[in-house]
């Protein structure tokens, strides 16, 4: 081993393809050569011709005495990590690779692709004439995602009316498929095309440029490489390229190593340290108006100074924070589909109501016209009852307001808005339960046991509620709520623990725990049971007034809407913050997306499973907290809540997003509240119609193809298919 830095031996092992590939291999080589010349290093290069030979080549580099090995790591990250652990004396510098936390001797070179792409997008937005811009993405890896999102945001920055057409090519090396994708985009009207898909992307650019669209290259200055300095047809249509200066990065890393300053971890390259940027305009220079150039220069400066940000996360996620920003960036397709799902479900529900009504049958016996009228009356009556049961009768509310204005007596007004308060009251536990399942989904866990967690949370909260006396409310109430949360959290935590430690599938363990919880609460609350009140009814004692949730209308005992709704909304805000603004949430979502990737990135899958499941169960427990401390004030035996399944529908409908879950909860709360009125005369529709509607909503949301088929909606270019669950034995 050579210790002195001036005799440092450096090796380059490329991941695949020749060293003069006009891409990262070549750039890395250039950077390395320059560093070797400047610092007098001994450099060797090993080309990898087949993926199988990669590790063998790393080994031969080590055997030939390299102290530092530079390599391209976007595809070979795990191999590098495994290899590096076995050769702790050698340093590894890997382009596009995020080292595992525990690795000591791997340095990853990461680039702010989003900044380069942001500039490209801004330019595209200024250059497009038809307001249609195309993007060709490669396989779903982080750099591609960052390019994609950065481009989207940059486009949005200069031209909010421009529409982004997206296509994905499932390979980095399929010229033909890329070309096809490029032609398609032009056919669909794109007049600027940006591609981040390796060789496939080159194909797309060539095809699009030859079809007359403006194109923007990626990774390297493609005018020099793909368009061979203007020798290839279409080179005049290349606006610029969003470049990653891999050569500079490699040079920088090697220089640091020479100076003894290279450490493990990540070196980041962005606009400010000239690690990324736009390539010269070359032949297109004359075609780009000077004010456009000025604008791009200005945006680049402001990005550099931090005045504007790309709002792209490390995983390519959208970080635009402002609420209005979110609304405008809202994917309307994503809203339309659930709405259509609910609408379709209600229509089928109407079919059930109208068809299976004895009154309707009688009417049909007397004549078709009468029958048709009876169907209309049956359905309209039911849905009017549904509406009035959910939101109150407008006429009565107006009357109530008038009376209140006239006499100052709010009694009738309060009675008139009772349906509305019922909707809020019923929605509150839905918010908790829906959040519980949604949080699980985000971590790739299917918490089907909200019901059992609800029981255990209920037992815990009611126990603290009645057994502890003499506390002021501001201590007793939070304590009782905490008990409910912890109860549910422990119950679900068992499943999380079993999943993490043994791989036991949470669907089965939570179902089993549901039954166990049911039996346990049956035992506790049966007449004479440990937690039963004296007497012949199988119920718990009444909770102390100091543990009750404050009511909105304490004067009217028929109205039970209470402060729990604020807790629920706060819980939704908390889940949102946790999931999208904290490292914990990022880890949970990463584990949800791919446990394997998370593990490679050094995250503890075990810990995240347990944590997510526990929080999820705690939220389910909070549903019981609301129902017991805010509504019934004791716990009856065997109260079938049905939250377990409802919650799944809510999480699906809300796309596992806290805001979506809240909206879905109010929708279902309104349906349930309305169904109570629908059950009463004159409509007399069994409340179970809501279950039918719910089931259909789940089916339609989970199988959007069905909705698209019915309403003839075109499939969006790219729909993120969430993996909710895996088979029994897999993690």
């Amino acid at each position: 081993m050579q210790q002195s830095p001036d005799a440092l031996r450096v090796g380059l092992v490329n991941d695949l393809g020749p060293i003069d590939d006009g891409s990262f291999n070549q750039y890395a080589h250039e950077g390395l050569t320059r560093a070797a010349q400047e610092h007098g290093l001994d450099a060797i290069v090993i080309e990898t011709e087949a993926p199988e030979a990669y590790v063998e080549n790393l080994r031969s580099a080590v055997e030939r005495g390299c102290d530092l090995i530079v390599t391209i790591g976007s595809r070979t990250g795990p191999q590098i990590e495994r290899f590096a652990v076995r050769h702790p004396q050698v340093r590894f510098v890997a382009v596009d690779h995020e080292p595992a936390e525990e690795s000591q001797n791997v340095t990853g070179l990461l680039f702010a692709e989003d900044q380069a792409a942001f500039l490209a997008g801004a330019l595209a937005g200024l250059m497009t004439e038809d307001n249609r811009v195309g993007f060709v993405g490669g396989p779903d890896v982080r750099p591609v995602r960052r390019f994609h999102r950065g481009f989207e945001h940059g486009l949005d920055c200069t031209n909010s009316r421009a529409k982004l057409l997206e296509t994905v090519v499932d390979s980095f090396a399929d010229l033909e498929a890329g070309a096809e994708a490029g032609r398609q985009l032009v056919d669909r009207g794109a007049d600027v095309v940006f591609a981040a898909a390796g060789l496939s992307g080159d194909g797309a650019l060539l095809a699009a440029a030859q079809d007359g669209a403006w194109v923007i290259g990626v990774d390297k200055d493609q005018w020099m490489t793909t368009f061979q300095e203007g020798k290839v047809e279409g080179s005049e249509r290349l606006l610029t390229s969003a470049v990653k200066h891999v050569d500079r990065a490699v040079y920088d890393a090697v220089t640091r190593a020479v100076e003894g300053e290279l450490r493990g971890g990540i070196l980041r390259f962005h606009l400010r340290n000239h690690g990324v940027g736009l390539a010269p305009y070359h032949q297109a220079d004359g075609e780009i108006p000077s004010e456009v150039k000025g604008r791009i220069q200005e945006i680049a400066d402001r990005l550099r100074s931090g005045e504007i940000r790309t709002y792209v996360g490390p995983d390519g996620e959208d970080l635009r924070e402002s609420f209005t920003g979110r609304i405008t960036a809202w994917n309307w397709h994503a809203v339309l589909m659930p709405l259509l799902a609910v609408l379709s479900a209600l229509i089928i529900g109407a079919f059930f109501i109208g068809t299976f009504d004895p009154v309707v049958w009688d009417a049909f016996e007397r004549g078709i016209g009468l029958g048709a009228f009876a169907v209309w009356r049956s359905v309209s009556r039911a849905y009017i009852a549904l509406f009035e049961g959910a939101f109150g009768s407008p006429a009565r509310i107006v009357q109530g307001v008038q009376l209140y204005m006239a006499t100052g007596n709010p009694g009738q007004l309060v009675r008139a808005i009772r349906p509305l308060t019922e909707t809020v009251r019923i929605s509150t536990p839905y918010v908790f339960a829906g959040l519980a399942v949604a949080l699980g989904f985000q971590c790739g866990l299917f918490n089907i046991g909200a019901e059992g967690q609800y029981f255990i949370g209920g037992l815990a909260t009611v126990f603290v509620g009645y057994a502890i006396t003499g506390l002021p409310w501001f201590i007793h109430l939070p304590l009782a709520m905490l008990a409910g949360f912890v109860g549910g959290a422990i119950w679900a935590g068992i499943s999380g623990f079993l999943k993490a430690e043994t791989g036991a599938h949470e669907v089965i363990t939570t179902i089993m725990l549901n039954f166990i919880a049911f039996r346990l609460s049956d035992y506790m609350l049966q007449v004479g049971g440990p937690m039963a009140a004296p007497g012949a009814r199988p119920v718990s004692p009444r909770i102390m007034p100091s543990a009750e949730l404050p009511q909105f209308f304490p004067a009217n005992p028929a109205i039970n809407v209470n402060a729990g709704i604020f807790v629920a909304l706060a819980a939704a805000a908390f889940v949102f913050w946790l999931l999208f603004k904290t490292t914990i949430g990022f880890e949970i979502r990463t584990v949800g997306a791919s446990p394997r990737a998370a593990r490679t990135a050094g995250m503890s899958v075990t810990r995240n499973f347990i944590l997510a499941m526990a929080i999820s169960g705690g939220l389910a427990g909070m549903a019981a907290v609301h129902d017991i401390l805010g509504v019934i004030r004791f716990m009856p035996n065997a109260f079938h809540s049905g939250y377990g399944f409802d919650a799944i529908a809510l999480a699906l409908l809300g796309k596992s997003h806290p805001v979506g879950v809240v909206l879905a909860s109010f929708l279902f709360g309104a349906l349930r509240a309305g169904a109570q009125r629908m059950q009463a005369p004159p409509a007399r529709v069994p409340i179970d119609i809501i279950s039918i509607v719910q089931a259909l909503v789940i089916i339609f949301v989970a199988a959007p193809e069905l909705i698209r088929l019915v309403y003839r909606i075109r499939e969006p270019e790219e729909e993120r298919k969430a993996v909710f669950t895996r088979g029994w034995g897999q993690t």
């Binding site: 299976f356 043994t502 035992y523 529709v685 279950s691 989970a702 199988a703």
Partner: protein
């Protein structure tokens, strides 16, 4: 690479640690019998096991078995302790069978203790246990059919509920409205139930195979749908037209020779026809899975659909057929509840039996006979708790009823036994 090796290891592994765990478990069982049961028993207490069936007239007269409680318990304790010593010293070749036997010894000990100074009719207990296990076994068989072709079916519950409902309403319609004969009406009820199960199975298959919906979500939706539809009609129609919910009960039929065997006869062979259908299905599915081409194809689709596809097996078709058949088997379980057990449909009458069947399937390691065995254990726990109430055993029945679920979790966690689901279970298959 390592992951695969670990999985394979897990599949064939009766590891050293587990061998020791089992040995200690057997020893502890023996100790527990002594500590909890034998120690609290007086020296002259007697446990009486009655082996006759109180039929009229009494057909078979089998003598009662009276055991001195404490002695019997000590013998049983010794058996488990010996098993433990053997396991630690030599090791059973089929450790899980040994585990089952020791568990059985424990249950017998428990019953002996519970019956001290009292009498327990064993035959009637087993008979009830078997009857209660029939719907569970059908549910579990449904699960086996679906999951062997890698479609997780958690909507067994909903399919059973639908089968029960349709069986009740169609049977009643034929009997009470159309005035058909009893047997034909029952047959129609049964066939309609099977049809409804097939439809729901097909729905699950379409959602999970064609639309590639997450199978658990699809199953959940079907559960809610079945609950909603059956409850809706039950409230809207059956409550008004009572004659639509009265299909009658299929009378029991004693199998000529077999029912004459003491003990076994009354336990297994004096039941409704549907019970025998379950037995035939059990054997049929076992033979189908392991001795026919179709079974081989099904299992290969469940383990490695890509390989199966390469060999020219139509993965989609296989899944459609198996899941549809699974739906029919589940619906049969529901129809059993109405046509052979209760005689009417009640809202939510399956009460979680589908989920218990699912647990039985896992417990039985995705094999028909394993699932059936597990179902009988669940049925036994169910039957036992009513008996224990009569015997005034100071254990709350709820805890007894909890035991099967706890055991399922333990099995699933791999502490004892081993769970080997089909490798592709739960994954949608995409053709390349």
């Amino acid at each position: 690479m390592t992951a695969i090796a670990e999985r394979i290891g897990a599949r064939h592994g009766t590891s050293r640690a587990r061998t020791i765990t089992y040995g200690i478990l057997f020893l502890v069982t023996g100790l527990a019998i002594v500590l909890f049961f034998a120690r609290t028993t007086g020296p002259d207490q007697i446990s009486t096991f009655d082996l006759t069936v109180r039929t009229d007239p009494p057909l078979l007269l089998v003598p009662e078995v009276a055991l001195p409680t404490r002695l019997a318990l000590l013998v049983l304790a010794a058996i488990s302790a010996l098993a433990g010593v053997w396991q630690l010293a030599v090791g059973f070749r089929r450790a899980n069978w040994a585990l089952g036997s020791v568990a059985l010894v424990f249950i017998v000990a428990f019953l002996t203790w519970a019956t001290r100074d009292s009498s327990l009719n064993v035959v009637s207990l087993l008979r009830t246990a078997f009857l209660r296990s029939v719907p569970l076994a059908l549910a579990a068989l449904s699960g086996v059919l679906c999951e062997r072709s890698a479609v997780i079916n958690i909507s067994i519950e909903g399919m059973m509920l639908m089968g029960a409902f349709v069986g009740a309403i169609m049977g009643s319609l034929a009997l009470n409205v159309l005035g058909w004969s009893f047997a034909v009406s029952q047959g129609l009820g049964l066939l309609s139930a099977l049809g409804s199960g097939a439809l729901l199975g097909l729905l699950l298959a379409v959602l999970s195979v064609r639309f590639k919906v997450d199978q658990i979500i699809a199953g959940t939706a079907i559960n809610i749908l079945a609950t909603g539809v059956t409850s809706f009609f039950s409230a809207r129609i059956l409550s008004q037209f009572r004659f639509l919910n009265n299909p009658g009960i299929i009378p029991p039929f004693s199998i000529p020779v077999l029912s004459a065997i003491p003990i076994i006869g009354p336990v297994f062979f004096e039941h409704s026809v549907l019970v025998y259908v379950m037995m035939l299905l059990l054997i049929g599915i076992h033979v189908m899975l392991w001795y026919t081409v179709w079974g081989l194809r099904t299992r290969s689709v469940g383990e490695h659909p890509r390989a199966a596809d390469t060999l020219g097996i139509d993965v989609f078709r296989n899944r459609y057929i198996n899941v549809t058949a699974g739906g029919m088997v589940a619906a049969l379980g529901g129809a059993f509840l109405v046509l052979a057990s209760v005689g009417r449909f009640d809202r939510l009458m399956t009460a979680g039996k589908g989920f218990i069947g699912l647990a039985a399937m896992i417990f039985g390691n995705w094999t028909p006979f394993g699932a059936f065995g597990a179902a009988t254990i669940f049925g036994f726990a169910d039957a036992l708790q009513t008996r224990l109430a009569i015997l005034r055993v100071p254990i709350p029945s709820q805890f007894l009823l909890m035991t099967p679920y706890i055991v399922t979790i333990i099995v699933l966690a791999g502490v004892v036994g081993e769970a080997n689901p089909p490798a592709a279970d739960g994954q949608a298959y995409e053709k390349e």
